[in-house]
């Protein structure tokens, strides 16, 4: 039995917090399980849920777990506001509401046969992790697989152990850079776009998935274009103030589209003209 897609998409399902794990000073991961039982929480890489702290509010959070794992539902959250702050203060055994999954997914089928370049920054690695799991689970379907990750400092590198594990594999390439560091850091220092300029992939056929703060995505798209990656082969995950998550309320309207329903994953050429507009 699946716990996804409740009959009423506006009705939260109660989920219990099984575990809470601190990732960074302001970022944590929750493992959730439906209170009323049920099977695997089916979702596609890139989709999000609405997480409801009763009496406080509801926020959209991308799923950060393995889509092919039948374990708990996993969300990685950065505490930046009232609801995310309330989630940070919760503990194992507490109950929250979950609606979802919602939104579009990374086009993993479309990318088959191509090199796949994942460009990500900061906490943007969390929504990217399900697609990494998928690509690795079906590794033979893809060409080269590259993760290019940027963070503010070494202390802000998310999923560090997992990045190290992925980096130790022979069938993928992982490169990490930070904006600033002290002499104790043995890795690269510089902007994430420099990783794009250096990375070994076929720019004329590669698929690029970009996820991070929008200012980072802006420069990443520019660097991908400079390498020769066409807009049609670039997808990115947009973040907007989503409320209903099903395209009713219009809070997340982005030009002629709704980020909750038509996104959050968009092909870049579909949003290119409004991507840099201050207020659409």
């Amino acid at each position: 039995m699946s716990v996804t897609a409740a009959a009423d998409p506006m009705l939260p399902e109660p989920f219990g917090i099984l575990r809470k794990r601190r990732e960074l000073s302001d970022t944590f991961t929750l493992e959730l399980s439906p209170l009323h039982g049920g099977g695997t929480f089916a979702f596609r890489p890139g989709q999000f849920n609405m997480l409801y702290v009763f009496g406080v509010g509801e926020i959209p959070i991308s799923i950060s777990g393995d889509p092919e794992d039948d374990g708990p539902l996993v969300h990685t959250i950065r505490a930046v506001g009232t609801v995310s702050g309330a989630l940070r203060d919760m503990e194992a055994g507490d109950v929250i509401g979950v609606r979802g999954p919602f939104g579009s997914a990374w086009p993993v089928e479309e990318a088959e046969g191509r090199d796949v370049v994942l460009v990500t920054g900061g906490v943007g690695l969390a929504p990217m992790r399900p697609v990494i799991h998928h690509l690795l689970a079906h590794r033979q379907r893809y060409g080269k697989l590259l993760i290019l990750y940027g963070a503010r400092t070494p202390e802000d590198v998310l999923f560090r152990k997992q990045l190290e594990q992925w980096r130790s594999r022979f069938d993928m390439f992982v490169d990490v850079t930070v904006d600033r560091a002290t002499g104790k850091w043995r890795g690269r220092v510089g902007v994430v776009t420099k990783l794009i300029a250096r990375a070994g992939f076929d720019p004329h056929d590669a698929a690029a998935f970009v996820c991070g703060p929008e200012v980072m995505m802006r420069f990443s798209v520019q660097a991908l274009n400079e390498r020769g990656v066409a807009d049609e082969r670039i997808h990115l995950s947009m973040e907007r103030n989503m409320k209903c998550a099903v395209g009713f309320c219009g809070h997340c309207q982005f030009g002629g589209q709704f980020v909750c329903k038509d996104g959050p994953v968009f092909r870049f050429d579909a949003i290119r003209d409004i991507f840099s507009v201050w207020e659409v």
């Binding site: 506001g81 963070a151 560091a181 002290t182 002499g183 510089g190």
Partner: protein, 156 residues
């Protein structure tokens, strides 16, 4: 028989000198030398005379500021294909920061005194060098501006 690798070929293959005529490659090679630094070694120290610039052939170097009572702050790391050291072109011709080898590093150094003499008699040669340096400076400036944006910060 062991053949010594010609600096002309190394310069020709380095992206910094892409498209340079053979005559000028020879001229630059006349001012060039191979250098090697072990991990932790300093290629340049802040305040010391800057009389060379470098092409990275292998390894990683860090551009650093020393800070009292703290580990040095790394401004940027550079690696194969990169160029560093334009302080020799800008008064007072001293290194603006430390340059430390993070790994074993192999570099090609170009001697500023040697080049200045040649530029005086051949302005075209100077132009060829400067038109290669300006994009490097522009890219570093763009990267520095990008980092000022603190772009990994989430919107509040």
């Amino acid at each position: 028989m062991v053949r010594i690798e010609g600096l002309e070929r190394i310069l020709r293959e380095h992206p910094f000198f892409e498209g340079l005529s053979a005559d000028y490659q020879d001229l630059f090679a006349g001012c060039a030398a191979n250098e090697r630094f072990e991990a932790g070694g300093f290629v340049g120290r802040e305040g010391e005379p800057a009389n060379k610039f470098y092409l990275v052939r292998h390894g990683i170097v860090a551009l650093e500021y020393a800070v009292p009572a703290r580990p040095p702050l790394v401004l940027e790391t550079l690696e194969e294909g990169d160029v560093f050291g334009w302080s020799w072109m800008v008064p007072p011709h001293t290194w603006a920061f430390d340059v430390r080898a993070m790994t074993l590093v192999r570099l090609i150094s170009l001697d500023a005194e040697c080049l200045r003499g040649k530029f005086e008699s051949d302005h075209r040669l100077g132009y060829e060098l400067f038109r290669r340096f300006v994009p490097v400076v522009a890219k570093r400036l763009a990267a520095a501006r990008m980092r000022l944006l603190d772009m990994y910060d989430s919107p509040k």
